[in-house]
């Protein structure tokens, strides 16, 4: 979503302005950090307060909008992408942010995620992936690893999990990043870059469910003896090191990166500047109006009726 679109000169937005209801999340839930990063990011960028929209589906993570003092919506399970798309396509003045869980995004919402990506609708989607169904108290999620013991897989999950980055690449998402809720600065960076991307931008954020999947992401957390492996992006400085670095416009390379074993790499996997549906539809609308000489609504409908006499 491009900053260009945002109207200037609103009063300064502070964390205090952005704070709403106290989160109902369990103490220690990874989602708190995602919320903090969102506050910080908006504070840094200073978006006009009233032009921020925070939307979500259903899930623990999807309670997000209640905890943010912006225009917001808490929709139904799995359909937040089309809801947000409607807002984005009809309101270029707004910054549309979407938050939700892995079940919301990849299970019930999987098809909408894919078509939103394909159509390249201009919005930013932060998927708070905890590898489990939190709100409904520990069922297997589409990202639960094989062997994960849940209430619906008491002896361990047997279905191969979704690979979010691969799915998004194949679907045609134009910005795909991955981060970890214990890495607050990295989260902020990724959210900001997603926001600045003009098109469908997704950030998968590993966010621990301390209640039902504690320690799930320690392997990606240095403080827990894990490795937070950052993607080094090409600087195009012609240096030999640069050879080794990742070209974010290279879809195949991104797909390879996405094949790394858990916890995998973090950072920007892919970014492309394919035109957004917002831009294409706008162009079409303007062209069809121009062809008619940009008539007024009444004039236009009247002329249509005249043809039906």
């Amino acid at each position: 979503m491009s900053l260009a679109e945002s109207a200037p000169a609103a009063p300064k937005v502070t964390k205090k302005d952005l704070t709403a209801d106290h989160p109902t999340w369990c103490p220690g839930c990874g989602d708190f950090a995602v919320l903090a990063a969102y506050y910080k990011m908006i504070e840094r960028i200073q978006l006009p307060h009233e032009n921020i929209v925070t939307l979500a589906g259903i899930g623990c993570s999807s309670r997000f909008p209640y905890f943010v003092n912006t225009h917001g919506g808490h929709f139904i399970h799995g359909r937040a992408v089309p809801l947000a798309s409607g807002v984005s396509l009809s309101r270029p003045d707004l910054h549309v942010f979407l938050f939700g869980g892995d079940g919301d995004a990849f299970s019930i919402g999987g098809n909408h995620l894919e078509h939103g990506a394909r159509k390249n609708i201009n919005l930013t989607y932060v998927i708070m992936d905890n590898f489990v169904y939190g709100l409904t108290k520990k069922q297997t999620s589409p990202t639960s690893p094989l062997g994960f013991k849940s209430k619906t897989d008491p002896t361990g999950a047997i279905d191969q999990p979704v690979n979010p980055v691969k799915k998004l690449l194949a679907a045609g998402a134009t910005f795909i990043a991955r981060t970890h809720s214990t890495q607050i600065n990295h989260m902020i960076q990724m959210m900001e870059r997603a926001l600045n991307h003009n098109g469908f931008s997704v950030v998968e954020c590993l966010s621990e469910c301390v209640e039902f999947y504690p320690g799930a992401f320690d392997a990606g957390n240095p403080r827990k003896g894990g490795e937070f492996r950052l993607i080094e992006e090409k600087k195009w400085d012609g240096t030999p090191e640069d050879e080794q670095r990742h070209d974010v416009t290279d879809e195949i390379a991104a797909y390879k990166l996405a094949s790394l074993p858990f916890p995998g790499a973090f950072g920007v996997f892919y970014e492309s500047d394919r035109p957004s549906k917002n831009a294409l539809e706008k162009k079409w609308s303007e062209a069809s109006r121009a062809k008619l000489g940009n008539p007024g609504d009444l004039e236009l409908l009247q002329s249509t009726f005249d043809r039906m006499k």
Partner: protein
Amino acid sequence: MANQICSVHSIENPAPHGVAFSPTGIAGGKTSARPYPPPVISPNELAEPATTPTTTAGRADLRPQSIRDAVIRLAGNSQDGIQSAGALLARLAGRSEQEVMTYMTIPSTISGGPSIFQVRIGTGDVLSAGDEADFLVAFYQHSYKDHINFLKEGGVLLYDSDNVQPDIEDKRFVHVGIPITGLTVEALGGTAKDKGKNVFILGLLAKIFDLDVPKLEILLREKFGGKNESILNTALIAFHAGYAYPVGNVLSTRYKFETSQQPAGVAQVTMDGNQALAYGLIAGGVRYGAAYPITPWSTIMETLRSEFPKYGGLFVQCEDELAAVSMALGFSYGGHLAVTGSAGPGISLKTEAIGWASMAEIPLIVVNVQRGGPSTGLPTNVEQSDLYQAIFGGHGDSPRVVLAPCTVEDCFYTAIEAARIARKYSTPVFILSDASLATRIQAFDEPDLKNLMIDPKLDLTPREADFRPYPLDGITRHAPPGTRMLGGKYPVVTGLEHDEMGHPTGSPALHTGMTAKRRNKLQQLAAEIPVPEVAGDQEGEALVVGWGSTYGPIREAVKSAHARGESIAAMTLRHLNPLPNGLEKIFARYKRIIVVEMNDQGLYGYGQLATVLRARYCDPKIRSFTKTDGLTFRVKEILQGVLK
């Protein structure tokens, strides 16, 4: 000039009012004073001069005769373009200020197949497409076999003698055989082969009915005058070949429609119900929408997909109906009242999200162009079996507004009203149309757009500090994103039960209060819905109640029964949920209330509207007459059903 409105419109909705055909009818607006029109021409009147065709053989020209009404059925295959020929006739009638109604069948097989197009043109009210044809044009043997019994006794059978061998012994009809295929190929020099048959027929009919040739030529130009000149020329050649054919040799009479008594001047527009509904939405200020294709809804979305952008809006074809309703809600949440639509299967998929609209109180228009059900059912047939779902389909206590247009013209005005209600009450509004309205072509008075047109403005006026998104004591007024909240508190819309500020709550008192709030606003709406007009005897033996596209046949049936001295009246409900108040007073004036519907009698013997009325009024005299054959009601079916 048309009067296809089933009942008075809501006061805030300045549509032409329904006509009461009985002098005692409630004044129904500008046309209600119009005298009770005489019954339509009888079969015999029409056909009598032709009953002895043989004697007329060899005569050069047609003896003129004046008629008020004619039903012409074109029977062929869907590939023959009979639809376009029929549509041109309909449009011509519209331009000639005649009443017109068409009826067509769409083959349910993919590869096309037998199909008909029926045009009824009249100088008086034309309320139905007609039970019987005065003229049958048969392209093929199967067309003849399948439809000859639809031709009224004494009616004229016009057949393509290259393809049809009728039973000429059958003296009930006037047989007029013309080598249509051969003549067309001949006229077009084989180039377009027999593709021009439809236009050839048009020329033939123009001669027989003494139609206005210059006007028809203009229509042909409008229809075929595209990029490729040759197409238009071919059409004109075929037309004149048909017109020039010495039909006098085989048919003795030239029929001339009486010129209408209407004060000329009010121009008419001619279109089908789906077009009327689409343009009604535009007039009502709807500029955004999303949907997924399905018969018979698709043509509305196709129209809006092209039209909305011209008005600076947008219509999106989504990956499925779940996405479509959700995107439409995104538009509405964004401050632009939006429309979504489908037929039964797709509406079923939208159920959950529509429940969110009820709970979050976001306005939305949901169009259901009903077809035969359940499941995939009969995609190209008509039925009124989605009323239960529209009223009761949501989980939880989720009252919805349900409107049903009853004519092509009414599709236009109902769409405007739906937009008004959705905005005023910030709630989802259903429009229940059906397959027969969707494809039926009618002419109606050109709407007064200047006064009707709603200019949709995005309301971002800053909200005061005391703003409550969900006031218990008032109707919700959605504050779209982009609105500055002077109190500094920004609202979250939600599908969870909530307090006045939109915070989730499990409070018993609040759930009770909010449930009542969502119900009360529909009760408020009910108070502003006018009591529907009753046509016919204002009290007496029987009141026939209907909804939707059965309006015409019911009116015509009641009219003719009345003419025969029956004590009977007709009422069509356009507001099905909430119902208008005061119906009990009307019911009290009749001995029998017969609810006529195209749906099943159900487990307990009552159709869907009948069940709703019985539940509210507990009046045992409310009875049902229903059918489920997937076809529109014939006038005589209704007469049989209601008179006993």
